[in-house]
Every structure is written in structure tokens, then in C-alpha cells.
Symmetry: C2
Subunit: 589 residues, 2 copies
């Protein structure tokens, strides 16, 4: 990795540019850009990188595309870039091919009966995410979410949080950070000072948190304190108004909140990063180029996704030249950025903390299940397994193997994603957090071999959006497993008119894929799902229900389901489907 | 590129292994494999490559994934691999990110009124496909289809053919091959001796072509002769029974057809490759390991996708050891394979034919529209544009630029996909081949700004399969453009029950995405589409119709549409949607 230039050699514009992290499509080609007003073309992006922005945040694309895109971005940069992504649920949540974890609240659910197991999972999730992020060139994991989700109507945090208990959120967030920090990657605790207790969506408008400082100190702040103690590299501000702290400015733009509370009172010395400045709560209320100036004044080191990056740089420079912001303020931010960049540089990698998550896992497994299980896994592992073996000699062994690789070339690191060990962790979290109830197992109405005789079993799947749905395909368990049992699949999304056919009268397995805050009024998929549940209950045709995503939806529906078999999973990915349906169908599949 | 070993140094098993091209998923990770019975895991695939198979055919994955996968495959191989793909309609047809062309029949339609323009397009399509294939490590383009599609009920060839006229198919196939051969890539004319005149699908069963040798010589064979004359590298056999030539064996397994007709009578000296041996017509009728032996006996050099690669190698070796097949027969095939591999090796690349398609294009454009248009394009081109500029000095200049690149590293070549010049060719082919009729332009019922006032315009889209649909997303023109005009989109596929709501009575823009042979009986999407057309015509609500894909569907529907505006495009990709809807909506969008 190239070394960082001396700060004194940079102009004001160059210093300010380093404070920006701009949005970039993870796809490689301009014709794949889906949001042209937010995502710059390749030419524009290259110009911004050459101008010296500090980093990029990637959205869209597969893991393979990200691996190539990050190489391209770094090749344009004179000063190595921070490359960030919102991979709160593993790299596979955003970038297909990598490991996709269930949402953090799944681990929170495990913590309520086994805290130490949940901490292990949180640490493994942090470690796998960090390892896979680095493997494709992402050096800044914008996680963990440390918000305490104590408002079930929260449309934006919800299952992204570890739960509603500040102590558990603190412990799991700390474990996650420690896991992630076993790799030379940056983390970010978000969204300061706590986005859990609101029913408004800051993507659209500015939520208000009406609590007193005492209440904040009791519920919202402890997880941030814990994250700081665990060594989190960055804290992301929330676009929230907290009148008891600052009646005028949202946290992102509040000097009292970012500098006095976070930097001074809580003693946070790392990077303060704004949440995306393009979001409605900020973009609609402050000028595109005034918001960045206010954020820097407030104490932000990193301006994330400003509406107009070049305009933002110029506006901040003007504010310095006119004396509104001191040059020292800029310099202090860039010094923190330098420190962060050094931490993810190759040189630092050699001195990495060195705790391999795989190593820990292997030891634990052997203790639990002995050599037999270990050998069984080896058979499926191939290359990954070989490396694991070498690592048994100790932490150092694993790390060396990872770094030298077979040919020593960067492009090979992508093949270190989605290892069987990582999938095993996902499976365990899903199994340990799933809910099953009613008269299970649901005995299949007929054996699979006579499936063709029946046209009368319906597998009704409701998702938010069928087009581009990243967890369903014809071979996915939610479709393939019921098909084996003779079900015919019917799909609908929030755009599908809810129409009842007259010959609709058949036993139905209803699978609802619902996240966020769905049972709040009349909008979209939630209503479609609710309407179907009521109609199927009324006709006596609701044979079984599976909810994937929101535990709040399950809680809404449970009182209606006296003895009907049901399953709930926090995850929506194929692994979650397999786990839930196996539990439902007599585990015979 | 590594050099090829002396043939004498290889064992019989190693020689036979080189005759296999095995299937591989284009995705990078085992958990992404959708067809586990056909696609080997990474471990299995590595073992096959280490065993020395001659090549792999890739299905699935994006262009980025293919770029990484081909590097991985070659890194495992001692002898460089042939890496093939069915990219008949451009690399983007199979691998997202690259340029996606309309089906060849679009160019055939242009040929009926402007043969020379059509030949230019065919050559450009061949050149772009070859350039993009090489950029991601594919060195064997399994195209062009040279079948003469003179049977509208043909379920498998259809719009993949250049048309029903042997002379035009010959000329366009030759142009395509010449275009492709300006890059060091292999081509394949398929499916010998001609798959155009059948209504059976060889994926399922064995079609019979009942024609006399005289008729074959008149219709089916001329395009193959033309392709051979144009220097095609391989000819792919069809799984067809042609009783007048061989009453017993399908072409793929017929010595008379492959050796006597193709090799001897037609004088083809290149690679004879079977169509996929896993296909029903072969796999269901011959033993998994007997079919490969029969194919080699018949004269095939390459066994494509055998059911059981290791079993196939062993069976062919046994056939040699027992005297059923001579060792010279094997050796002759591997010599041809060596010749082909030399042709795509780095060494040969230096001596490549050197005609840059971009260069030809630039010259033509300048003649047509002068410098202004050229400059306009430069603005959007960036890096691609720079390279084009350098190339203006002559063919050699372009080629050098392409090979040295900015850093000289292979991974950079992927960014040479999907250039604006390539997209311009796609656009021109789509525009020149589209059909528009009825009372066009359809005047928008209301201006875009008052869209919210209307809930009464419906945009009804029918596709084969919504899940994983690769040409539709919420921002695609088929949805986005009607939305601008106040339409509400409703999607259905062949799994959606056709249900008529009572309040269904609104003006409807019907968009049918249909390829293959859809109006033949009761199956799937075709019926859904037909039912909708009839119902909307009966209620007087069919405001306009767009058909994407099959011109035969259009021909079926045209008599029903007296003055209703309609458009037809051979393509289904977003560019096709934009072209067709612009023609329909007053070109005002």
C-alpha cells in the first residue's frame, strides 16, 4: 500500500476533499447505474477520486464486482481511499456471493437465554464480515448498529438492532467490534445518539427524540459507550432532533451533540462520520452545500454522501477562508482520517491483532462435538479446509496462510468468501433464534412421490418486490421444498392486486417475507399479507404460516393462530428458508 | 500464456481428457450453484481441470464473476483451457455488465431491405462479442447459429437464427465470423447439419429432419459451407436424426454425417464439437458413457458437457485399448485442439488479424454525421474514448492500446466492456429492425406532470418468469416510461393465475415479453398473453401492444389489431424497451 503524504504538503482543498466519502455504484458499468441522480458515472467518479476525496461508499453489485471496483477506485487514487459499505448483516447482505448473516436482532434473541453464546456469534459475525470485506477491498464496515430498538413501530432500525435491552445491545456490539477488529478493518457504531425510539423514517423526514438527558444516559448512550470502550473506529451521527440537547440542529449538524457530548463528555477520539447527507432529513432542510459546512462546524470528520461533492468541498473551503471554520478544525479531522487510513494500510496488517475467528470456532467445536464432526466438515471444505488445518498450529499460522495465499495475488482473496465455516455460523444463529409453534411438525399431506396427483396444495409467497428479489429463485427452499411436498407456488408482492379466485379453496402454506415496520396503516406488502391471513383463516385454509424478517409481524399475527403450525425466522435468505421449512415439515426433507 | 506440451509427452488418458469441455457455473461459490446435478462444485471442477480436461463452458454469473472465474480455472490448468460460452447475442446476453445484442434474426430482418448494412451490423456484433469475451477470459464464442429457421414452430432455434433465407443466413454468418476473427477468439457454426426445420426440442427429445440430401444441399448446408469458407474454427453437431443420411444415429453420433459429410465432402478441417451430451436427445437414449465413445467414433473432436466427465474419459480410453477406436483418431483430434489453442494463445494474439471494429465504425460514422456527433460521444466516453482516439492512427494503434492498457494488468481488461460505441451498434440494430404500426404515435392521455391525477391507466407486463428476470427492474424503461405517463404497472408471469377483476376496466398498455415458440398449445406464458389480448380486445381496453422477442407472436396477433398502436422489437433488454416505447409514445420521452 502506498504511504500517506505529509499533511503539510496538502492544500486546503486537498485536506477538505479527504473529509468526503462519496457514493459509488458497486456495478462496473454506467449502463448498470440505477440511481443516476445519486450515483456518479465512471468519469465523474474518477474525477472525484482524482480530486482527492477521502473515500467511497459502495452500493449495488456482487462481491465479484466489488472486488474489481475497489481495485479500480484505489488505482485512481493518489492517497489510498477508505472504502465503506453498509454491510450490517454480512458482506452477502449487499454483495451476492459472500456470507449473508441474519439481522442482529436474531443474535439479540439468543442473548435473552444464552448471553455468552450470543456474544460468540456476534464476534464471529464481526470477524467473518471483516475478513470478507477486506477480501474484496472494503476497509470500512459501517456496523454495528448500536441503536436500542425499543419502538416496535420503528421503520428504519427494527431488526437491524441487537434488541431493546441496552445492556445486551452493549455486550453484543462490543463482541461484534472485537470480532471485526481481529482484521485490519474499520468499524462504525451508529446512529449517535440513538435511533431506536422513533416511528419516523429519517430517509424521508426528521424524527424527534423527545427524551431527557437522563433517559438518554440510561437507554441510548450505554451502547455507544461500550462500543467506544471496545475500540470502535468511528461513530455515525443520526439525522434526529433531540430538543433536550439541541433544540435547533439535528445531531448530524449539532456542535453540542457531536463535539460536546460525543467528543468531549464521552471521550471519543476516533472518526465522527455523518449519516448520508443526501437523506431527506438533511437534504430537504438545509442547502446542499450548507449542510456539509454545518456538519464540519458541529465536529464531523467525515461527510458521507454529500449531495454535490465538489460544491461541498468548495463550501467548506470558503468557510475556512472566511474564518467561519478554523484551519485547525480541518487539520484535526484529517489527522484522524490519516490515523484510520494507517490502520487499514498493509503495514498495519502485519501487526494485526491476529485472533482468527476460525481458530476460535474450531476449538469450540472440537470441545462440543469432537473430531467426528470436524472431519465431516473437512470433506466439504477443500481449499478452505486445508487452510484451516494449517491454522491449527496457532493464530500466526492461519494469518500467514491467509496472507501468502497460493500465488500471493490479490485477486485470489475473493475465493476466501463464503467458507463452509462461515455458513455454519449463519446456520447456527438461524437455528438458535428461530421460533416454531402450533401443531408442528406439519405432516405432509402426501409423500413427495405422489406430488403430481395433487393440484390442491398452495404455497403462497408474499414479498415486498418480486423484481430483483435477492432471496428467492425457483430453486430456493421457499419454493423448492414445498414443491417436493406437492405444493403449487403462487407469488405476490406489494404491486399484485389481492384478488380472490372462486376456486381458491385449497390448503395454503403462507410465507410472508416482511421486514421493517409493516402493520402500520394501509401501505404495501403488510396489508397484502394481513389480508391473506384473514381470508385464509376465515375459509379455514391457512394450513401453516412462515414469517421471515419481522418479529413484530409475528406478534401481531400470533393471537389469530390458535393451533396452526407456524415458524418465524429473522433471516430471509435461502438458508433461513431451509431452516424454517425443515422445522415445519417434520424435518424429513 | 504457457506453451503447449508436446503431444508425445501425454498419456492416452491425458489426450482423451483434452477432448472434453465440461460445464462450470459462472458463479464463484458453491452456494450459488443452481443446478447441482449438472454443475460441479469448486472441488470437483478443480479435480477435472487438474485431470486435464480441454476446457470448460460457463453458464451463470456476471461479467465480473466470469473474469475472476476464468482466471481461477486457468490457474488450475497445466495446459491452457478453452473457455466457451453460448454468447450468441453478445456477452451481455449471458453475463451482466457486458454488451447485450438483439437476437440475430433482428439483423436478418434488416438484411431483407439492406443487406450491406446488415452485414456491417453482423460483423460489428461478431467483433464486439469477441472483444468482450476475450476481455473476461472467454476464448471460444459458441456462435454464430447458422441454422435456417424456416419453421415458425421451431421451439429451440427461432430468433437465434439469422432467418429463413439460406443466402442471407450465409452472408450474415460469414460477416459475423469475419468480425469475430479480428480478435484471437474461436467461433463455432451450429448446429450441423441444420436445426432450423423442426418443431421438436432436442433438449427434451430427438427431432427428425425428413429431408433428402438434395434439399439439405439447397437449404441447410449452404450456411455451413459459407461459415467454413469464412474461417469458422468449429462446427457444432445437432442432436437430430436425418434418416436420408443416417437412419440409425443422430448427427452427433453419426460417422456418415460428421466424418463423411462434414469432414470429407465439405472439407472442414477445424474442430467438430458435439452439442451438449447431457441433452435429452442423447442422454436419454444412449448410455452416459457410451454416447461419448459413439461421438468420438463418429468424428467429434470435442465432447461438450458429458454427463460424467471422468466416466467418459475412461470409456473412450477403454475403447482405444480394446481397438474400437484407433489411437490415431484420438491424436488427430488433439492435434486440432492444439492448433485451436495456439490460435487463442498470447503469442498468436500479437499477430492477430488487427482489424478493429471500432476503427471501421468510427470511419463510417464520421462519413455519416461528421465531427459533431463524434465529439458528442467523446464526452460520454472517458477512458474508452481516449483509447478510441489513440486508435485513429490505424489498426495497429488501437490494438497496442488495448494490449498495454494503463497498468498492463489483465484485471483491467474488464473495464473495456460495454463501451458507448458498442451500445450505439445495439441501438442502431434495434431501431432498424423494429416494427411499429397502427395509429402511432399513441398520444399520451395526459401530460406527465398530472400523472398523479389518474389511477386509470394500466401498464400490464407479461414475462415468462418474474423471479430472476434479467431485463426488468423498477427503473427499466418498460416500467419507468409508462409510469412517467401516468400508468400503473401490473406484472404477471406464466405462474400468475389469469384473474379478471371486476374493476378491471381501464385502458391498458400490454407489453408481452415472449421468445421461443409460444402459441403452440396450452403451455405457460403464451396462453397468458393470448388470453389477455382477447379479453382486452373484447372490452375495448387494449390501448396499445408491444411484443418483445418473437416476430411469430406478432404475426399471430396482428390480424386482431385493426388500428391499435403496436410495436415489435426482437430484443427484450432495456435498450429495446426504450426504443419501442419511444416509437409508441410520440417519441416525446
Amino acid at each position: 500500500m502506498r504511504s500517506l503524504p505529509n499533511l503539510d504538503s496538502l492544500s486546503l482543498t486537498e485536506l477538505v476533499a479527504q473529509m468526503l466519502v462519496v457514493r459509488a455504484s458497486g456495478y462496473l458499468f454506467d449502463h448498470q447505474i440505477l440511481y443516476p441522480s445519486w450515483e456518479p458515472t465512471t468519469d465523474k467518479l474518477k474525477r472525484l477520486v482524482e480530486l482527492g476525496v477521502g473515500g467511497a461508499i459502495l452500493l449495488g453489485g456482487s462481491a465479484a464486482e466489488i472486488a474489481l471496483k475497489t481495485q479500480q477506485l484505489q488505482s485512481w487514487a493518489t492517497i489510498p481511499l477508505l472504502i465503506a459499505a453498509d454491510i450490517e448483516e454480512g458482506v452477502g447482505q449487499r454483495f451476492a456471493g459472500a456470507t449473508w448473516f441474519p439481522p442482529p436482532m436474531a443474535i439479540g434473541a439468543i442473548a435473552s437465554h444464552n448471553l455468552s453464546l450470543a456474544q460468540t456469534y456476534a464476534a464471529q459475525m464481526g470477524a467473518v464480515t471483516a475478513q470478507e470485506a477486506l477480501a474484496i477491498g472494503i476497509n470500512w464496515v459501517l456496523a454495528p448498529v448500536v441503536d436500542v430498538n425499543n419502538n416496535p413501530d420503528n421503520p428504519v432500525i427494527n431488526v437491524r438492532s441487537f434488541g431493546d435491552n441496552p445492556a445486551i445491545v452493549s455486550q453484543l456490539a462490543s463482541a461484534y467490534i472485537q470480532g471485526a477488529k481481529s482484521y485490519p478493518v474499520l468499524t462504525a457504531a451508529k446512529h449517535f445518539p440513538g435511533h431506536g425510539d422513533t416511528a419516523a423514517d429519517s430517509h424521508l423526514d426528521l424524527p424527534v427524540i423527545p427524551h431527557s438527558p437522563a433517559r438518554l444516559a440510561e437507554i441510548e448512550l450505554p451502547p455507544f459507550q461500550a462500543a467506544i470502550a471496545a475500540g470502535v473506529d468511528a461513530v455515525m451521527s443520526a439525522h434526529l432532533l433531540i430538543p433536550s440537547w439541541d433544540a435547533e440542529h439535528p445531531a448530524t449538524l449539532s456542535s453540542h451533540i457531536l463535539t460536546q457530548q460525543l467528543r468531549q463528555n464521552m471521550g471519543f477520539e476516533g472518526l465522527i462520520v455523518t449519516d448520508a447527507l443526501v437523506m431527506g432529513a438533511i437534504a430537504n432542510r438545509y442547502g446542499a452545500n450548507e449542510a456539509p459546512v454545518l456538519a464540519v462546524e458541529a465536529g464531523a470528520d467525515i461527510l458521507l454522501m454529500p449531495v454535490d461533492p465538489e460544491g461541498a468541498i468548495q463550501a467548506v473551503c470558503t468557510a475556512v477562508e472566511t474564518g467561519r471554520i478554523s484551519k485547525e478544525r480541518i487539520r484535526a479531522s484529517v489527522e484522524r482520517i490519516w490515523k484510520a487510513k494507517l490502520q487499514v494500510s498493509g503495514e498495519n496488517r502485519e501487526q494485526g491483532a491476529g485472533t482468527s475467528w476460525e481458530q476460535g470456532r474450531k476449538t469450540r467445536e472440537r470441545g462440543e462435538t469432537g473430531e467426528t464432526r470436524e472431519r465431516g466438515r473437512q470433506g466439504r471444505q477443500g481449499r478452505g479446509g486445508d487452510r484451516g488445518d494449517k491454522g491449527e498450529g496457532g493464530d500466526k499460522g492461519t494469518r500467514e496462510t491467509r496472507e501468502t495465499g497460493e500465488t500471493g495475488e490479490t485477486r485470489e482473496t475473493i475465493f476466501e468468501l463464503a467458507k463452509p465455516e462461515a455458513f455454519a455460523v449463519v446456520n447456527e444463529i438461524l437455528s438458535a433464534s428461530q421460533v416454531v409453534g402450533g401443531n408442528v411438525p406439519l405432516m405432509p399431506v402426501m409423500p413427495a412421490q405422489s406430488a403430481s396427483e395433487s393440484q390442491n396444495l398452495r404455497n403462497l409467497i408474499v414479498v415486498d418486490e418480486l423484481l430483483g428479489c435477492d432471496f428467492l429463485h425457483r430453486k430456493a427452499p421457499a419454493i423448492a421444498l414445498p414443491t417436493l411436498h406437492g405444493y403449487t407456488t403462487q407469488l405476490c408482492d406489494r404491486h399484485t392486486p389481492v384478488v380472490f379466485e372462486t376456486d381458491d379453496d385449497c390448503p395454503t402454506l403462507l410465507q410472508l417475507f416482511i421486514r421493517g415496520n409493516p402493520f402500520r396503516g394501509s401501505a404495501g406488502i403488510a396489508q397484502v399479507g394481513q389480508v391473506w391471513v384473514k381470508k385464509l383463516l376465515a375459509s379455514g385454509n391457512l394450513q401453516a404460516l412462515v414469517v421471515y424478517g419481522s418479529p413484530y409481524v409475528l406478534q401481531q399475527l400470533l393471537p389469530m393462530l390458535p393451533s396452526i403450525p407456524y415458524a418465524f425466522s429473522y433471516g430471509q435468505m435461502p438458508t433461513a428458508q431451509a431452516v424454517s421449512l425443515s422445522a415445519l415439515f417434520a424435518r424429513s426433507i
